[in-house]
Symmetry: D2
Subunit: 361 residues, 4 copies
Amino acid sequence: MSSEFGKILRVSVFGQSHGPAIGIVMENLPAGEVIDEAELLAFMGRRKAKGPLSTLRREDDIPMILSGMIHWKTCGSPLCAILENKDAQSKDYEALKEIPRPSHADFVAFKKWGKHTDMRGGGHFSGRLTAPLCIGGGIAKQILARRGVFVGAHLLSVAGIEDEPFGLHPTQEDFDLVAKKHFPTIDDAAGDKMQHAIKEASANKDSVGGIIECAAIGVPIGLGSPMFEGIENKLAAAIFGIPAVKGIEFGSGFESARQRGSEHNDPIILSEQKDITMEKNDAGGINGGITNGMPIRFNVAFKPTPSISKPQKSVHLTALEETELIIHGRHDPCVAHRAVPVVEAVAALVLLDCLLEHHGH
Amino acid sequence: MSSEFGKILRVSVFGQSHGPAIGIVMENLPAGEVIDEAELLAFMGRRKAKGPLSTLRREDDIPMILSGMIHWKTCGSPLCAILENKDAQSKDYEALKEIPRPSHADFVAFKKWGKHTDMRGGGHFSGRLTAPLCIGGGIAKQILARRGVFVGAHLLSVAGIEDEPFGLHPTQEDFDLVAKKHFPTIDDAAGDKMQHAIKEASANKDSVGGIIECAAIGVPIGLGSPMFEGIENKLAAAIFGIPAVKGIEFGSGFESARQRGSEHNDPIILSEQKDITMEKNDAGGINGGITNGMPIRFNVAFKPTPSISKPQKSVHLTALEETELIIHGRHDPCVAHRAVPVVEAVAALVLLDCLLEHHGH
Amino acid sequence: MSSEFGKILRVSVFGQSHGPAIGIVMENLPAGEVIDEAELLAFMGRRKAKGPLSTLRREDDIPMILSGMIHWKTCGSPLCAILENKDAQSKDYEALKEIPRPSHADFVAFKKWGKHTDMRGGGHFSGRLTAPLCIGGGIAKQILARRGVFVGAHLLSVAGIEDEPFGLHPTQEDFDLVAKKHFPTIDDAAGDKMQHAIKEASANKDSVGGIIECAAIGVPIGLGSPMFEGIENKLAAAIFGIPAVKGIEFGSGFESARQRGSEHNDPIILSEQKDITMEKNDAGGINGGITNGMPIRFNVAFKPTPSISKPQKSVHLTALEETELIIHGRHDPCVAHRAVPVVEAVAALVLLDCLLEHHGH
Amino acid sequence: MSSEFGKILRVSVFGQSHGPAIGIVMENLPAGEVIDEAELLAFMGRRKAKGPLSTLRREDDIPMILSGMIHWKTCGSPLCAILENKDAQSKDYEALKEIPRPSHADFVAFKKWGKHTDMRGGGHFSGRLTAPLCIGGGIAKQILARRGVFVGAHLLSVAGIEDEPFGLHPTQEDFDLVAKKHFPTIDDAAGDKMQHAIKEASANKDSVGGIIECAAIGVPIGLGSPMFEGIENKLAAAIFGIPAVKGIEFGSGFESARQRGSEHNDPIILSEQKDITMEKNDAGGINGGITNGMPIRFNVAFKPTPSISKPQKSVHLTALEETELIIHGRHDPCVAHRAVPVVEAVAALVLLDCLLEHHGH
């Protein structure tokens, strides 16, 4: 099992949900970058469980920096940060060893690593592993901001309820506004409806999925390469590393398959400042794999949480008999709203990597 | 500029549309694999321009094997195959050096590599570069078939016209049936409508996009890893290497964001042969990044060809003045139908890579 | 700054000498491997400071396993192990910030990362970082042993005093014998002389270098690839990761440059068991980058410790004036004897990586 | 089988000695670099067979540029250059399929790829594969020269006869002087003796080895990283990709193992221009894996050519009987003198890669 990405900014995530600790190692971070601890904790806080919308597991995560920073300033060495695992209730998972949960990784983990695998709380497959990603992403966001690059995201849709999308040129203020909200939508009314839908699903022992829209502004023109090392390739490869992601689209994405060229093409114009720019952004800020100066824009589809309390069909792995499974324990009825900062984190890490590759390090 | 992917089966594509030749290098192919030349040429033929639906550029591509095979049997050495470029009409592109085509890579290439870049015929960004990918993919498909793995694809939608999707368990015969058709749809009536829509767009100096559905059967359980080295990550990273791709989704993909867990989850059951399997396949054959034995299934969105003959807004790069651009030369009014074997090729290369990684080489 | 290697078995080392902790992350370890804790601690103990031969810094290192093992059995997830840093005396290093030590990394670190760099105790450049390598290597050695592969090393030379080399076919017992010794030579008399030379150098405020011979037996035929992914390439790339290494040679190495082909070539013969083998081993077990079934054999040259107490010429970095530097603090008068298990560790990690690549994982 | 290296400047070599063509693919070369064809051909000419010292196979190699350059100016796209194979006499190799040559790759290739392997003329293991490396290296040398970096090498020793080493600060002129000679030594008298020794070995149906000294000047301070991504690691990993290399050492190398710290350490001083520099260069220009501004200096040991005409012991692979082997065909009695530009080529490729990584691309 391996969990790393990045060409220059190498990111490696380790840990199991119910092991002693989880963490992240980041290589080739620039030296001398002051990281604001409060800002980092606030960013990580956006991922935390929230009242009745989320798991009851408490995560008061304070990252411990083992290396790579002195007094919250990067020193050039590989950075390792860890989070201790507390409040893990492994007994809830004993029964699952024999009866895999549908659409969860239990079955494939059993087939691949046999009984040695650690699937307590989802093991290394758990959404808990996105917490160290947020440490890394929170650091990357601060470094990017110092270079004029900002990343933001919001919940575009949950259970079919739609938020309004970012505008053509979202601003840092737009990003901050969503980031500060209890529930990450632009339109609060839509957010209220989504929260209602999540609670309803939970009451029905069920779960719901959602779509996150992410944007990055201030990205220099010229990052990326055609074919296999483009920005879309790199973002997609990393974003599918977030548990429950089933799709990604850039700019007008799947809708572009229904467009005509004359609709889809982004007319090239001069801005008021006489910079070359585009009139709209169906390309999502990327042409031929390379950033074109417009905001990078992509949507990410999250499936509903697979762990639901409704009875489900499964098979006893050793008895080889069909059986009914009822999952106990604490589970989020929706992961999409907590995944908003995670998508930002991964995007920030990928963009910082591209920046370090193309501008040197 | 770099154009390579793969961990064990390293694939590197080189060449410009109007340079002397384009080609592919493949490392770590198994030795002793007999490649059927006629089958390879037939596979490559599926990508060729077809009558009024496509560019008028003739591509009678016969791959020249420079290394890695003796008498069409792999010998273990890196394989290099090239295609000579003929019938290139570079004069059509002279004017484009100064005035970038909207939603094409002209602008970013100019910003990144200046006037040194070779954008004749799209240079290295051209769809022509998918021809060597088909050499590699055609070889990978034959090697996979010998191991019981088959990859197939069809045009799921063009300009909003829908083909019927693959069934729950598509067969090798289903794949072969589409592969032999002049136009790659399952439902011929849908195919006729799509061709009509493409011709109509062409007549209107416009272009259309489309969606390709791809499936792979016979893939062993257990390929892939959670988080960043999963099958979805690897397929997505490579598929975005095909020009014009703007989105990818696995299983129920973006639709899953609207589903409830009780709808989306794939019940685990016993097959008639008492194998553990799933009742449906909203996961697209992948749980936690790892193959689960069900067919791998994903959709790829292609935007409409950016090169259209309608007048478009652009900017003269050195004069820095807005201008109207009319693109001359030969251009496909749709790339999606020709991209069907390309998606298969890339999927086959990625799956063979995963197989060689997990089963040794 | 990055510190990782490996293709399948990815190894990443983090930490600074005087930071809170140092550690290692290992990806793609096989699951279900029982690791003997006592054996691991004994292996790590071989690297520890020894009486008057070594630094006075105490390292009672007990690895804390954060992930990847449950009750000392690997579970398939990335393994992270850390060592807390204690007994660090950073004040000794204050003066060095301005005046770089000759042949140490102080000067290049200052030029590269400026004043942000953490060079307390050598920072990430410190020999202390070989301790987590020994955690990883100790684990790899146990996994290799279960597959019939054994790695051993000894001090071939210190300050010009020579130990006897391994024989043509060293055995596991030969390796164990050296491993158990207080000082890692085959010939105890040579070892005594070496220790005397080290003490004498120390008394003279000076240091000495040495050569380590390493061998691996039981390695399957056929690991590696010609040209750039051969076993020599991979071992060399990783071995130069050990601080103070200045050279590596395989088989008869630099001596082979003085040989004739008829002397150097290893005659191919049948063993008593009718296996194809070689009469001698000037190739060091590797032909064309690929293992040939003979023991892998290589020598590693370690320079003398750069930190000596004798006055040395240096330059004040900000005043830009030549000055005399006298280094205080604790420093090993020789690192070669402590590096013996480190060379074994790195060799074991590389060989396990090659095994997992070629035999699958 | 794979044959590639480099992080940013990716280099991949393909081809078999007696296949249709051999070649190189280079990714991420800077755009707009004018390459002087005559200079490139002159550089490649240094590798060619020379009269009675070398194989009788004629290699009038003119590289064909398939991509990546227009009119000898790089355009940013991956560069592919090939050399056609002519004058190959495969019949000489028929007998060798069954009886492996001692210390050649025949045996391991047979064990690894079975009878499918192409070992005609050494296949992909052949020294012939260093010709495309020289195309790449010749291009890299010209790009480096434009940035003030120069790489040179000479034959330090053959059959025990020693050339004088480069001085403390070798100049571009020193490099050019050796490059223009028929036989690449600094001291012509030493060169004459070496040539005599090679001819004598040839007359005795035998072969000799040698050592090459390589240096690079003008390399910026700060390239490389401690531990596993240092300049020594990268150079060593690539240099072992040259067939017949058995050892590499940097600065005082193996000799440093016999030195005291007070001898080995390079005193830090101010130059006349008040730059910080070192009084001598036992470190070979590298501290802690990072360039320190002094010339990079390393030695490479080449074993004697394994193909000698003297009778040798071998084993018939299928009959499993010991036998006597007499190798016919054309073989160099020494490869070291022809390898001088190859070492320069590989060093230039590695250094350009490091430059592009650290300074951006």
